[in-house]
Amino acid sequence: MSGAILALSLAELAERIRRGAISARAATEACLSALEERGRELGAVARLWPEAALARAEELDRERASGRIRGPLHGVPMAHKDMFPREGALCEWGTTIFRGQRATQSATVIERLDEAGAIDLGRLNMVEFALGITGHNPHTGHPKNPWDPSRITGGSSSGSAAAVAARCVFAALGSDTGGSIRIPASLCGLVGIKPTYGRVSRAGAMPLSFSLDHVGPLCRTAEDAALVLAAIAGSDPRDRTTSERPVPDYTRGLERGVREVRIGFVRDGLEVAIDPEIAALAQEAMAVFRELGARVAEQAIPSLAPLNALRRIVLTAECAALHRELVRTRAADYNRETLARMAPGFALSAVDYLQAVALRTPMLERFVAEVFGRCDLLALPTCPVRTPTIAETDTGGDAGFVELSNRMGALIGFANYLGLPALSLPMGFDSQGMPVGLQLVGRPFAEGLLLRAAHAFEQATGWTRRAPGAAG
């Protein structure tokens, strides 16, 4: 029974719970058991709250029996990256520096998932302070990729991706400051969406770079991502950067398909070497979209290198500002990888930072005019390199590690700097059996279109129905 429950998508589980075919308690027990066994094997789990989760499940089952459904996620078990606090519970940000830290207030996104009826099982491991794209964290152990435990998960939402991909939990929140949702989604075979800047509140969540931080879900399917995103999106008086724009019902348009949608495929001019297998899979993905009726054409885009440089200036400067005193007093307690990523920020000037921030609007205007004048969605690989092993990348933050990190993130950071919505979905598997992600990027607030295209693609290909082997 437990295996059958865990094989369901979030949407399927929610529907069965609503009609009483599965209890929230049974789903919660199945997830807790999977997290205790497979989740801990993979190094995905920071801590679980079984008693509180089971009590909440029983409460939700009683409510359903009496005819009350709290929302679209009623009874659905989830667990989240260890940077989203729940009032009174531990939240340690993937670091020993804040070991024992208890939250005095829940993050807005956690409150919204509660309102939608989700059950919170605990917290999942992450890269220290969410600063890193590979997933390494010597303090908590490097989470392992469920498709091949010798390989990295990608980061920084490493535990979130591992737990969802391993079918331990139905969805998990992550954060994305330079690909930290999309890279692990790509490497672990998931759908991960980074919404438009301002679409989802960051209030209460651990900050890394307040101009670039985005919150979003990692899920098995686009429909699941639509359900979770709809639950967490919307304006928030606790986060002044949130938009007042109404939140659509993202699930309602999913079946509309992509007929006549203009997809701009970026094949050339990406300024980074794309692994030939990944390039071939992207070509095949475009053929699928053509068969679905989309108008696929090659699309030139502005150079990504300056956008990546601008993003790194904003990221490292804001991060250095946040960590200044901690680095002065407790540098030895940081992971070397964390300091290696942050260090250039200390050597930047205020003028550099202000110019990089001021350039966001003209860069956004130029990008939208040049790209989205000719297409509705931009398509390109999420990660240009195939998933490396943990051993070959565990180099302690040396120059090679920084170079690899920059290369892995070469195709995604522009969407953080420009605030554009971007989604990664599985587009196939490489010759080593590892999943490979396709990135779709849209105009501001085009999350509905991104999810619709992803849903059409996964219905046509079935890639999201594949699960990693239990013995993997």
Binding site: G71, P72, E115, A116, T196, Y197, G198, A230, T241, S243, R245, P246, V247, P248, D249, R252, G253, A305, P306, A309, L310, R312, I313, T316, A320, R324, V327, R328, A340, A343, P344, G345, F346, A347, L348, D352, Q355, A356, V357, A358, L359, R360, T361, P362, M363, L364, E365, R366, V368, F372, A399, V402, G419, G442, R443, P444, F445, A446, G448, L449
Partner: protein
């Protein structure tokens, strides 16, 4: 051991970190020279996102809560 360099905030970083910052700033200068008009308001980014959003063809129906 790499040489450590003092920074404006009195936190020493390795030579290569200063080089990385220099490379970013060089790219910034070139972009700024082309795209940063004198006197630009730096805080209009959110307004630009709203202004450049897609037409509301997805329908504006509110999500179920």
């Amino acid at each position: 051991m790499e040489r450590q360099v003092e920074t404006p905030v009195d936190i020493a970083v390795a030579d290569r970190d200063v080089e990385a910052a220099r490379a970013m700033v060089e790219s910034l200068r070139q972009t700024a020279a082309e795209f940063l008009p004198f006197g630009l308001e730096a805080n209009d980014f959110l307004c630009a996102l709203e202004r450049l959003a897609e037409p509301e063809r997805e329908g504006a129906e509110e999500r179920p809560r």
